[in-house]
Symmetry: C2
Subunit: 483 residues, 2 copies
Amino acid sequence: MGWGDLGVYGEPSRETPNLDRVAAEGMLFPSFYSANPLCSPSRAALLTGRLPIRNGFYTTNAHAKNAYTPQEIVGGIPDSEHLLPELLREAGYASKIVGKWHLGHRPQFHPLRHGFDEWFGSPNCHFGPYDNKARPNIPVYRDWEMVGRYYEEFPINRETGEANLTQIYLQEALDFIKKQQAKARPFFLYWAIDATHAPVYASKPFLGTSQRGQYGDAMREIDDSVGRLLGLLRGLGIAERTFVFFTSDNGAALVSAPQHAGSNGPFLCGKQTTFEGGVREPALAWWPGHIPAGQVSHQLGSLMDLFTTSLALAGLKPPSNWTIDGLDLLPALLQGKLMDRPVFYYRGDTLMAVTLGQHKAHFWTWTNSWEEFRKGVDFCPGQNVSGVTTHTLEEHTKLPLIFHLGRDPGERFPLNFASTEYQEALGRIGPAVQQHQETLVPGEPQLNVCDPAVMNWAPPGCEKLGKCLKPALSAPEKCSWPH
Amino acid sequence: MGWGDLGVYGEPSRETPNLDRVAAEGMLFPSFYSANPLCSPSRAALLTGRLPIRNGFYTTNAHAKNAYTPQEIVGGIPDSEHLLPELLREAGYASKIVGKWHLGHRPQFHPLRHGFDEWFGSPNCHFGPYDNKARPNIPVYRDWEMVGRYYEEFPINRETGEANLTQIYLQEALDFIKKQQAKARPFFLYWAIDATHAPVYASKPFLGTSQRGQYGDAMREIDDSVGRLLGLLRGLGIAERTFVFFTSDNGAALVSAPQHAGSNGPFLCGKQTTFEGGVREPALAWWPGHIPAGQVSHQLGSLMDLFTTSLALAGLKPPSNWTIDGLDLLPALLQGKLMDRPVFYYRGDTLMAVTLGQHKAHFWTWTNSWEEFRKGVDFCPGQNVSGVTTHTLEEHTKLPLIFHLGRDPGERFPLNFASTEYQEALGRIGPAVQQHQETLVPGEPQLNVCDPAVMNWAPPGCEKLGKCLKPALSAPEKCSWPH
Ligand SMILES: [Ca+2]
Ligand SMILES: [Ca+2]
């Protein structure tokens, strides 16, 4: 989902009344960033509070390449990482993930092995349908076992865009909340819905209802679901005891535009890039009685902050001697404070850019290769900033391109290298980057090896359903990441 | 000012709390359009309710060229036009224009000859400073006579951007409102401020206060002033008897970016073009007790509608046997109705595009010439849509480029000519355009002839001030309009 997809962020059709109301009753962050321009690394960072370069969600197969967890990936979330639900368990929290996990699909990476008590959803994206010969369809799990597969027990109509998955995910979330409330047990719900991920989908009552086409139908169903979730919290009388945060794992995938892509508002490019369109996210915090209504916070925020902030809310601290990139946002949320901090943007193993205050420095620029671009893969449709949206990987580590995001949020006008502003900004950014890089201990890269044998041929529970498939022969190789 | 310049329209710095509050207390139009991508024609259309092609605010010197009223222009608003204040006078209204008039600066075009009772402001843009030899500085008028000139009695510091003009314009407006209220006289105030027009300016208390640089300072001062104006209406107890509308005459002039240009949000290009960025405007209506609070209207609106709507509010109708392009918006404002209507976008004498429902058809595409573009004049910085943002004037009258503005507000993906949607859209648009063109009676073009003799050498009142300059010799010629 993109920054520009919510009415309150300026989407012209203004079809998100429930999310807009979350903003009106809570706090809106205009400068909140994903931890990566791609899904898996961003979600791993959310749950670990650590950059993908630390938690292993990156590749070293090639320089500056985005990588994620397709079903042939061998790696996944390392045991050594401390996931948010693992830690919250210490404070008695019940944790559930509803929707896409995306931190590895092999048994050792199962979410219930990493702190979650319940799961309903799938380990990978809902791509497909597949023939179950070259590739199996993606399984849907309830807790430890699969309960079906996409395009089989969980249909998605690729022609009409119809699927009732968001309704199922909504019901799972509502039931979980009710159950915990009845037990008076504190809970962590990770509602990781994916209706706006291509192929976008919506259930019948929402199909064709948006002015924005299929993508808008998906947005409207998510928006409606958020309204129902918050309605339940109110109805159960636990709204003032429940912290809610709405955001996304990367910018809108403009490569899927116009039918299957959202809006990154006034920002440059989309998902896969470290320009603002790829990493700036809608972000709304809601906690009636605690967060004052209708506030805007210009705190520079990161998805990883949700890890640290959630721990703080539970009275916990991250493990000592453990590097955490997330910040505790409670001073911003509750007291309106602004904390200075850098936000780093990686692509694979490469620090592409950093934001500090209002200045963003690009050390490398790249959208995708000429080869991909000529095939029609365009992460910046209709946008072309000379020397910035480059189709060759351009190094600027000595003299980064620096933009002032207040005056130039669209990253169109790099500061003049000779200007005082450039020199001053570089003087602040340089040491922050140096400190980051000098102390960085990269994790073991998890996204290097792919093997058809590890695909979802025979997930646990497949026997009961008669849905086990014959695994492919093992043929591990370096995964190929095109961009 | 651009569509994306208000917090409530998604501007990331969110520095317009007063305008955002107008939206929260009133009605926001996401699909509201100027009558032209340039200032003078748009303002002439606002006050006449008629397209520039009818009221004469266009040129026939060349095909599809934008034209306005620099101080060498010979033409201006024809007597035969019925301006809003002329008509409101019939219902007893006192009318004042504060700020830029821009409908001609020669004596016969003076606003007090066209229905206004009072004027404080200038006939032209605040360009300068000039040497008073090749060009005189632009005069500032109080009613019939000049009271000084820009850069002289009314300083604008081109280095710091400091000028207190918005404060003066605010005071003029406040005083006018108080005076009419004291007399219990109905009034029409046309508050035509220009601080966001390059060269942008702000008064000392606002300079340097915005995260967006000088343009943001200007925006903040305008926003603050709107707050004070509405505060006065409330304080005087006449808020429920005063209809307020906030909008702009064209999109942000991206050619002046980044220091002197605002934001057109997610839209394509800017001022001078008939893409959305050039013509879609912020638009807020406020009338406590009448317009329900916090509404969004998807009514396709036009600046010219303010003419017709204002007449309706005063219980008046446009003159009979007189073609008006504006629509009475009261059904949209008061009853939430949606009215079907086309909105036409001209450049000079050429119908470039039309919007009907969610579809926009481009009959001609052009940004500016290669010659201008190579000189660095760029109306679409960072944007480049192949076959759409053309630097040659491209005709598509037989097979227009059609965009769906809901799915593709950025005009990046023209519909496939062979699609059913294209055929259906063209089937609706074609007859609307045909009817418009068959019945169109173009006005006498006013923006064809320029003459250095008509510049503001010796405006009325200059003798008293000792500020008369020696006029240049008359040398009328065809005005040269580069784009
Ligand atoms: Ca662990
Ligand atoms: Ca007249």
